[in-house]
């Protein structure tokens, strides 16, 4: 039930990423809502969910990512896991640490893609990647509380039923 909502949101964000975000580009860099959503979701929900959302969003992003399938899936899997581990050690109600860690994790992703691309004889623009990380954190700042509420509503329902 809940997974279905998450999957729907992910697909919607993917479409927004490809069709809407490029028009909000600043200096050629635009945010990736899907990845940010995956990070927030994993910070809030812990490791098991992180593996699921990381893999799923990675596969979605890979569909439109040139002819290399699997890069995003692999990187998202590990980075969402990292986000979940960070999430275990913080107060999840406060958004400061999640926002800051999202910047660092995004930059990590840029470097990871850069390294894999270099190995395959291609290259990417790191500077734009870092700009997008900063840009995305703005969306994280405003969106985190909504995602937190969305996830916790579900928990409350379950608690109420079984107590």
């Amino acid at each position: 039930m809940k997974k279905r909502v998450i999957i729907l949101i992910s697909i919607l964000l993917l479409i927004l990423d490809n069709a809407l975000m490029p028009f909000l580009a600043i200096n050629g860099s635009y945010p990736k809502l899907l990845f940010i959503f995956a990070l927030a979701y994993s910070i809030i929900n812990g490791r098991k969910e992180a593996v699921f959302i990381g893999t799923f969003t990675g596969i979605l992003q890979d569909i439109y990512f040139y002819n290399l399938f699997g890069i995003n899936s692999l990187i998202n899997l590990f980075l969402c896991l990292l986000a979940a581990i960070i999430g275990e050690n913080i107060y999840r109600e406060k958004r400061l640490i999640p926002v800051i860690s999202s910047i660092f994790i995004y930059i990590l992703k840029v470097f990871a893609i850069y390294i894999i691309f270099k190995l395959l004889g291609k290259t990417i623009d790191i500077k734009i990647g870092i700009y997008s990380a900063l840009y995305s954190s703005v969306f994280m700042f405003f969106g985190y509380n909504y995602i937190f509420k969305l996830c916790n509503n579900e928990y409350e329902k379950i608690n109420w039923r079984f107590k």
């Binding site: 479409i15 040139y66 002819n67 399938f69 840029v110």
Partner: protein
């Protein structure tokens, strides 16, 4: 063996090995696999609607913000139009003459070797690190990997992967694409063009590997040379805006501003050779 009892760890390891395998497997293949092609077929129509809506909004806002410029441009274009019309009359006369002469000589017409398939851009690809476009024509319409893509202004790039009814185009300002080029004024064909960014992060291109004694200068036009048979011959790419001499490598380097404005692309044409099955452009 406590480690293997941890279900999560096993899942992660299995998944990562699978993805690694996929990366290596797909790094050489030209086609999008069936699954991703299918998902994209579902999401593409929605994407197309949204993209077109935004594009219209952008052009409208652009129009009002730059109204005075638009007016000026209009004046300039009207003038140019009159000029061109005059030239067209001349051209038609010459063409008729040329056709007649061709018939006499039984010349084959080289420019008729290609079909031009028009397609619309429906989204952006490449996670904003490197520029690519998603277009709404694919394998079904006869496109294949490595075909050249042009717009009315000049070369855009080439197709790097195809699905059934969509394809991904990587533009020439991406650093992953190199084009064999020719300088129009000097007819030197050694140049290699690839993406480049200056300090203002403008999207430019750079031509390397020009001979040190080359007489290339600012304002020269850069064309594709057709070497390597990846791009058709003599498609316009851009104009030289500065020339540098590299003393270490003993060659000249030219910065080129492409004619195509990659932020304002809407419609593009894939160049499909009529006869050859593997994509090679005869020049």
């Amino acid at each position: 063996m406590k480690f293997f009892k941890n279900k999560l760890a096993v899942t992660i390891i299995v998944l990562s090995v699978t993805f690694l395998g996929l990366i290596i497997y797909t790094s050489n293949s030209s086609q999008k696999d069936a699954a991703s092609s299918g998902v994209a077929t579902l999401t593409n129509p929605l994407q197309k609607v949204l993209h077109n809506m935004n594009n219209r909004l952008k052009t409208t806002v652009d129009f009002f913000l730059n109204f005075s410029e638009v007016k000026e441009e209009n004046k300039k274009l009207t003038k140019e139009n009159i000029d061109l019309k005059n030239k067209l009359i001349e051209y038609n006369k010459l063409k008729e003459e040329n056709d007649r002469l061709r018939e006499i000589l039984n010349f084959s017409n080289s420019k008729n070797k290609y079909d031009y398939i028009g397609s619309e851009i429906i989204g952006y690809s490449g996670e904003s690190f490197s520029k690519g476009y998603i277009i709404d024509k694919g394998e079904k319409d006869g496109l294949a990997k490595d075909m050249a893509v042009i717009s009315n202004k000049g070369l855009v790039g080439k197709i790097t992967s195809v699905g059934t009814n969509w394809a991904i185009v990587e533009s020439l300002i991406s650093e992953n694409i190199s084009v064999a080029v020719m300088v129009e004024s000097t007819r030197e064909t050694t140049g290699i063009l690839s993406g480049y960014k200056n300090y203002n992060s403008e999207n430019l291109a750079v031509v390397t590997n020009l001979p040190i004694n080359s007489e290339i200068k600012e304002g020269d036009v850069i064309l594709t040379s057709g070497l390597g048979q990846i791009y058709p011959k003599e498609i316009r790419i851009g104009e030289v805006i500065s020339v540098e001499t590299d003393e270490v490598k003993v060659m000249k380097k030219a910065i080129v501003r492409p004619y195509v404005d990659f932020n304002k692309l809407e419609e593009i044409f894939a160049v499909v050779p009529k006869e050859t099955r593997d994509i090679k452009y005869e020049n």
